[in-house]
């Protein structure tokens, strides 16, 4: 074990450095703020999950017999809003990014610790508006807020819902600014750009998207609120406004937002895969370029959400082409991960199982994206369950799997405790099975014409909905299980060493949990992912 470096009377770790509520609520330690974010997004994850459980239960039968149509519409809307803005977008960046970015580049903290705390308070502010929306009876516009429904026709709490997202957007922007500045300014001596772990690159690319795309969404929501409040004509077709302008502005943010959710997952996958394959990352520099390429091209593909909206056929062709192009760097990444396994020494601990799941599900999500980029096919399947399945494969199969992978991989570092490995493997496999059972049938019924956001539906689709709901139940178990055993582990788990996975990367050179300013001795920077399969017992090196 490599954590035999001598430690003279260790200072308190960040978890025990102050025990009062105030020491948490006014902390500027990036690790504590990461924990605050972690707890908040977990809360919203379960709100989103409850909402979708009601939707899935309703869909067991073709008739609308469990809840009313309005309730149903509010449930899928709140599921979308909460999962996108209050779980997925902050999920990996604001928790693991916050916790790990300074550790991985050998810094004491993020560049602007107080701004970091402000990010969390902005998140809580946005969250308060969202909870207020629920108290006021919910919102029924769908997470996409399409005009003129959202501005003129909906009778629900559009204002508070939009306000919540508007506020939480600034949290994203500030986190992004903080991450970029930290990466530029606080790398330890020796940590050159091309020695940075892929996770740091992923955070960097994600932050660029956050800083550039989020303000456009903020402004778009502001226009929605102003139009609803003051009866302005900006998106009102009967007074000369253009509802399609809203869609352009909305997707200009919301397509890149998908990359805010999935780029961090790609970073996590690169970290975990190399560690458990004991192998250098295949094609490191290509992986970096691919990340940046996805972030950049991702800004120019928004029109593929609008192939049937009435935009011109020529715009459709251009956006289709660009969408095919963004598939290339994503494919490169999957190839490289696969090649990383070659000649490795692979073990199947829970984090690795999650990443295997991530690779499979993300690949299916990405490949079905090709169907949606193909205009004639998209015309048929857009706004059906095919699209629902596609983006859940990316955002849940991809991002959430990676989130759980990260949670298990860095759990010992964050808490200083080990989690029960067998239960964790069981949860990982259950999650994979449950996920596929939930969403694969949705591809089929989508292609057969089942529209999304339907409260009642023709009986011929019932078989698929029943399968999907059963899958959701399995998935629910797989999500609740870690909640219990991780709480147990936090209280009663065995102590973790500073580097239980024998992993490379600076975050493993400091005690678990790390002390207040992260490192007791300046970390030693090596080549990234400098794994040697030979040093694992049982492996047999050819040379």
């Amino acid at each position: 074990m490599s954590d035999t470096t001598f430690v003279p009377a260790p200072p308190l770790d960040y978890l025990h450095d102050g025990a009062t509520l105030k020491s948490w609520l006014l902390t500027t330690d990036h690790k504590r703020i990461a924990i605050l974010f972690g707890l908040s997004i977990t809360f919203f994850f379960f709100i989103g999950a409850v909402a979708i459980s009601i939707v899935r239960l309703e869909l067991l039968t073709p008739a609308g017999d469990l809840v009313s149509d309005d309730t149903y519409n509010k449930m899928f809307t709140i599921h979308g809003i909460v999962m996108v803005w209050f779980f997925l977008i902050p999920s990996i960046p604001a928790t693991f990014g916050n916790f790990l970015l300074p550790l991985m580049i050998g810094a004491k903290d993020l560049a602007f610790p107080r701004i970091n705390l402000l990010s969390w308070y902005l998140y809580i502010g946005g969250a308060a508006f969202t909870v207020l929306t629920l108290i006021l009876g919910g919102v029924d516009t769908g997470w996409t807020f399409y005009t003129p429904y959202s501005t003129m026709f909906s009778n629900s709490s559009v204002l508070t819902a939009a306000m919540g997202i508007f506020v939480v957007g600034f949290s994203s922007v500030l986190t992004g600014v903080n991450f970029i500045a930290t990466t530029h300014m606080l790398r330890a001596p020796g940590m050159t750009w091309f020695r940075m772990p892929l996770f740091v690159w992923a955070m960097y690319a994600t932050s660029l998207v956050m800083v550039l795309a989020t303000p456009v969404l903020a402004m778009t929501l502001l226009l929605i609120m102003a139009e609803r409040w003051f009866d302005l004509p900006i998106f009102d077709a009967s007074r000369g406004g253009d509802p399609l302008l809203f869609q352009h502005l909305f997707w200009f943010y919301s397509h890149p937002a998908v990359y805010i959710m999935v780029l961090p997952a790609m970073g996590v996958a690169s970290e975990i895969l190399t560690c458990f394959a004991r192998r250098r990352l295949f094609g490191y520099s290509f992986m970096v370029y691919a990340l940046v390429a996805i972030a950049v091209i991702g800004f120019f593909v928004w029109g593929h959400h609008m192939f049937v909206s009435g935009q011109s056929a020529y715009a459709n062709v251009v956006f289709s082409f660009l969408s095919f192009m963004v598939a290339v760097p994503s494919a490169i990444k999957v190839f490289n991960w696969t090649a990383t396994l070659y000649r490795g020494s692979i073990s199947f601990d829970a984090p690795m199982l999650y990443i295997f799941g991530f690779m499979g599900l993300f690949t299916i999500g990405g490949l079905t994206g090709l169907f949606l980029a193909t205009v004639p096919i998209d015309i048929h399947v857009t706004d059906t369950y095919f699209v629902v399945a596609h983006f859940h494969y990316i955002m849940v199969g991809g991002s959430v799997s990676a989130f759980f992978g990260a949670l298990h991989f860095w759990w010992p570092k964050i808490t200083g405790k080990l989690y029960p490995e067998r239960l964790a493997r069981f949860a990982a496999i259950t999650m994979f099975v449950g996920f596929n059972l939930t969403f694969f049938p949705q591809f089929v019924m989508g292609y057969l014409g089942m529209p999304r956001r339907y409260h009642v539906y023709p009986p011929e689709f019932q078989v698929y909905h029943v399968l999907s709901t059963c899958g959701a139940a399995v998935l629910g178990v797989a999500y609740i299980l870690p909640l219990f055993y991780l709480i147990w582990s936090f209280r009663n788990g065995a102590r973790a060493s500073s580097n239980p996975w024998n992993a490379k990367g600076l975050e493993w050179q400091t005690p678990s949990p790390p002390p207040h300013e992260n490192f007791l001795t300046p970390p030693i920077v090596e080549q990234p992912y400098d794994y040697q399969p030979a040093d694992i017992a049982g492996g047999r090196d050819a040379r």
């Binding site: 004491k108 456009v216 402004m219 502005l249």
Partner: protein, 211 residues
């Protein structure tokens, strides 16, 4: 320079200053994109309703608009000079220049308030009794109200930042030259000014070339 202004994650004051101004620049990029969403919409509708935008543009108050442009540009000048003065160890002068900047900012908001009152009296709120019966004019004025009020919010934030400098440095002039706050605030204030300089022709000069 003392290390009294050095904050935890940084090892040198120089690095800290670099980081602060880099961070503020990043934030400003984000702010520009915030407004670019509005500019894009403005552009689209101006293309769709050229006549409406010309007609409506003639109803904004060019006197207030021009006066405010002059005020904001002067305030940008005073805050820039304040920064120079602080670095040249003319702390007292820097402080007074900040006070002038603050005063100009407040004057801007006061004039804007009078202008809004006049606009409302002239039925320039997009509502049934709207004063300019040309299609697109209401959309122009929707953008007028949203752009100027979002900008006014930015001026207010800028005032809070400048006010913070004034209060903290009142008895501690060395802080002005030592901390990165003055630079950061000035950068932000310049952005507020630059955005106004874009808004001014879009909202006040459009439609006036034809007399």
């Amino acid at each position: 320079m003392s290390t009294a202004f050095l904050h935890p994650p940084f090892d040198t004051l120089e690095r800290q200053h670099q980081a602060v101004s880099f961070g503020v620049w990043l934030f400003l990029v984000s702010e520009v994109l915030l407004f670019s969403g509005l500019f894009a919409g403005y552009g689209v509708y101006r293309e769709l309703f050229p006549a409406g935008f010309l007609a409506a543009g003639r109803h904004t108050d060019i006197v207030f608009g021009t006066a405010n442009t002059a005020i904001l540009m002067s305030s940008s000048f005073t805050i820039a000079v304040a920064g120079r003065a602080a670095r040249a160890d003319l702390g007292r002068m820097a402080w007074w220049l900040l006070v002038v900047t603050f005063g100009l900012g407040v004057l801007f908001l006061v004039l804007k308030g009078f202008e809004y009152r006049e606009d409302i009296a002239n039925h320039l709120l997009p509502a049934p009794a709207f004063a300019v019966p040309v299609p697109g004019a209401q959309i122009f004025f929707s953008y007028y109200w949203i752009m100027t009020s979002v900008h006014a919010v930015h001026v207010t934030c800028g005032l809070i930042a400048v006010g913070r400098l004034i209060v903290i440095s009142r008895n501690n002039l060395a802080w002005l030259s030592g901390s990165a706050s003055e630079d950061a605030t000035a950068l932000y204030w310049h952005l507020v000014d630059v955005i106004w300089i874009v808004l001014y022709p879009l909202l006040y000069l459009v439609g006036r070339a034809h007399g």
